[in-house]
Symmetry: C2
Subunit: 411 residues, 2 copies
């Protein structure tokens, strides 16, 4: 590692790639198939070629850079992440996973020459769902899961169709039914944590064991809108009072479960929402996440029962609609062990943890042995121009990745 | 009373007057100085004249119909209410107080001839603040409290100035500093309850002892917006959780005070108000009302202290802004006694109560001995085309009023 300063190299490349789609607020807005997205992929392709990688796009614009294996050309170890960003995003989300992969490959090639198996870094087309209301377009095409019919008629905010946007960028739908890659043996994604746990615990690397499952609900409470002055308390069916009691109960139950369960009431809306009228309606959302399916189900059932009980006591009507139920995704235990060993051997401070956010890895994991490495997000800030990870932590992430890729592809 | 069916007569006149400003939804929209308002006052003036009353407008358009007294011409007993409505209002709010007064005067004149003191019924120009952001224009002019400078530059939604609207209707500002009437000895206002207490308790008449004082607050809680998935519960500063605990505490404290205290959280707004973000800000309003100043002050002080305590425990910042502090207004105990006796003598079912809403009487009371009679609002519905009061209850209100005016003006 003498010739590589992983931290400095990573920072330099993150700022370079962040110029594509840089917006007036200092953030990065790089949406699928936009000119700045095309330019970013082209620049990455050129950089990969200069680094000695064999470059290839798939139909939809996922970009792969390959370091070919000498003994098992039908086996590929994949790393990378997504090149698109949210609106006004930061320099680290997505980008870092691509840059980390490129630097790791450069390093491995320089230090150890050709691997036994192929190693590829992928710059995936899309993950965020920022331009069209469809997320994970990149990884779903690698796996043959994306369907043309689901997206072709979608329009972006300017009224441009998915099909038109894709065509202008020079790409096309993957022929449905065509074969998907059979050579992928493993996927290792490096990503920023998007939370504050690693920083708070002063760790450089997080090794993800599970990506949480999520259940999302909209809860509508119907009481009775009444005059704030002329309606005695005993005559009221106050929707916000019932909602407040329910929110407190949700948080009490959540606390009784403890980590890693998280529950969030993110959105509240009242009707009529006027200072001198007792609210007749209160609507709120509940987002609950846990690493284990049964625990998540048990929690949401307990909460649902308690919500109905409180609504009954308060004399209000309650409608509970679960509109998302995504199962937790475990990472591959063998690759997790490889990552752990790398951190230990290299003296990197690490933490076994889960991912509370969604990632390309959760789509990949049911099909290909998959694992994830996190690096700290300063103050937990995510999806913001204020995203920041210190160079020493970036370096630790790249080092752990490079070590793992060595274990997986050179032995 | 043999020749009068108070209920039938009242219903007939309410429907007749409700034609002026009748809108497409079946409601009444009769705003200050609009053509339909002018026509309503003109029609009322004509009806009063036909009923043998001497009719007079003041400068700003308050309309008075007088039954002159034989012995004390310098003493006047006043009744009536406001002729304007809210947008899409009902047939009872305001109107009923005017109609009740006219019918009571017709009845008294027919049964008992000329009173000793003058009795006047007033159709006040404005109370609701529906056209211009200024309420109680009518009564404040009677008392010499309204100031030209406060309203002359106000514009309605169509951009018409107060001064222009007034001029077009044929009225003018009361010369400031000119003498106000010294002859007013008492004011008795009949009004719909705008709440559901009388109906629930099966009473025909409410005798108001106090109009409540009101304090209004905006409370802003600042926590920290965080990712719903990657932020463990222990790392959060959740503004809606703190707000929910505070709202529950407010309602607990309110319950411990009991009637007539009412407290309402009518408006809640979150930032960013997104399903998968822990809310960083929660803003809510608190409207608290009570008949006694010290109790209202004590309650809001207790609530304020508790809000700060919960915010401190939750680690969030709290800003509490009291932007309204209107004192309670007691009614005149002597007139209240007269009303009570009338209900008892006439076998009317009545309830001693307070008004939780504001009325012309609260402006009048500090200057002129004042009292109010309520009749039931079906289901408590107010400011809606669905306002309804049964004829027998309308009749009871008019009967109680007529009896009280007899006591005040004929003895």
């Amino acid at each position: 590692m003498s010739t590589f300063d992983f931290g400095q190299e990573t920072e330099k490349l993150l700022h370079w790639l962040g110029e594509f789609g840089k917006d007036s607020t200092g953030g990065v807005s790089r949406f699928l198939y936009k000119p700045e997205w095309v330019e970013a992929q082209q620049a990455l392709a050129q950089y990969m070629q200069q680094a000695g990688l064999v470059v290839q796009y798939d139909d939809v614009g996922n970009l792969f850079g390959r370091l070919a294996g000498s003994v098992y050309p039908e086996e590929t170890i994949l790393t990378g992440s997504h090149v698109d960003t949210v609106k006004n995003g930061g320099l680290y989300d997505g980008q870092f996973g691509i840059i980390a992969g490129i630097i790791a490959l450069k390093y491995l090639q320089q230090e150890y020459g050709q691997p036994l198996r192929n190693i590829e870094v992928v710059s995936m087309a899309e993950e965020e769902g920022s331009r069209f209301p469809y997320a994970f377009w990149g990884v779903k095409n690698i796996l043959g899961l994306a369907r043309r019919a689901d997206v072709e008629d979608m329009e972006d905010f300017a009224g441009i169709s998915f099909t038109e946007a894709m065509g202008k960028a020079g790409f096309r739908f993957r022929p449905e039914g065509s074969a998907v890659r059979q050579d992928l043996q493993a996927f290792v994604e490096v990503h920023v944590e998007q939370g504050g746990v690693l920083e708070a615990e002063n760790k450089s690397v997080g090794i993800v064991e599970h990506i949480v499952g999520q259940r999302r609900f909209t809860v509508e409470i119907t009481g009775e809108a009444n005059h704030a002055g002329t309606t005695p308390m005993g005559y009221r069916k106050d929707a916000i009072y019932a909602a407040s009691r329910i929110i407190c109960a949700i948080m009490d139950i959540t606390a009784s479960y403890g980590d890693p369960l998280v529950a969030t009431v993110g959105k509240v809306e009242l009707e009529p929402n006027i200072v001198n009228v007792v609210p007749g309606k209160a609507l709120f959302t509940l987002d609950a996440r846990h690493t284990h399916k049964e625990v998540l189900a048990g929690f949401t059932e307990a909460v649902t029962a308690r919500m109905r009980q409180i609504a009954g006591q308060a004399g209000v009507k309650i409608d509970i609609d679960m509109w998302m139920d995504a199962e937790p995704v475990p990472m591959d235990t063998a690759i997790v062990e490889v990552l752990k060993k790398q951190c230990e051997q290299n003296g990197l401070s690490y933490k076994m943890m889960h991912s509370g956010a969604g990632h390309d890895s959760q789509i990949m994991a049911p099909f290909i042995p998959t694992a994830m490495l996190f690096v700290p997000s300063h103050k937990g800030i995510s999806h913001s121009p204020l995203e920041y990870t210190a160079p020493r932590d970036l370096a630790a992430g790249v080092q752990a990745l490079a070590g793992a890729l060595y274990e997986l592809a050179y032995k």
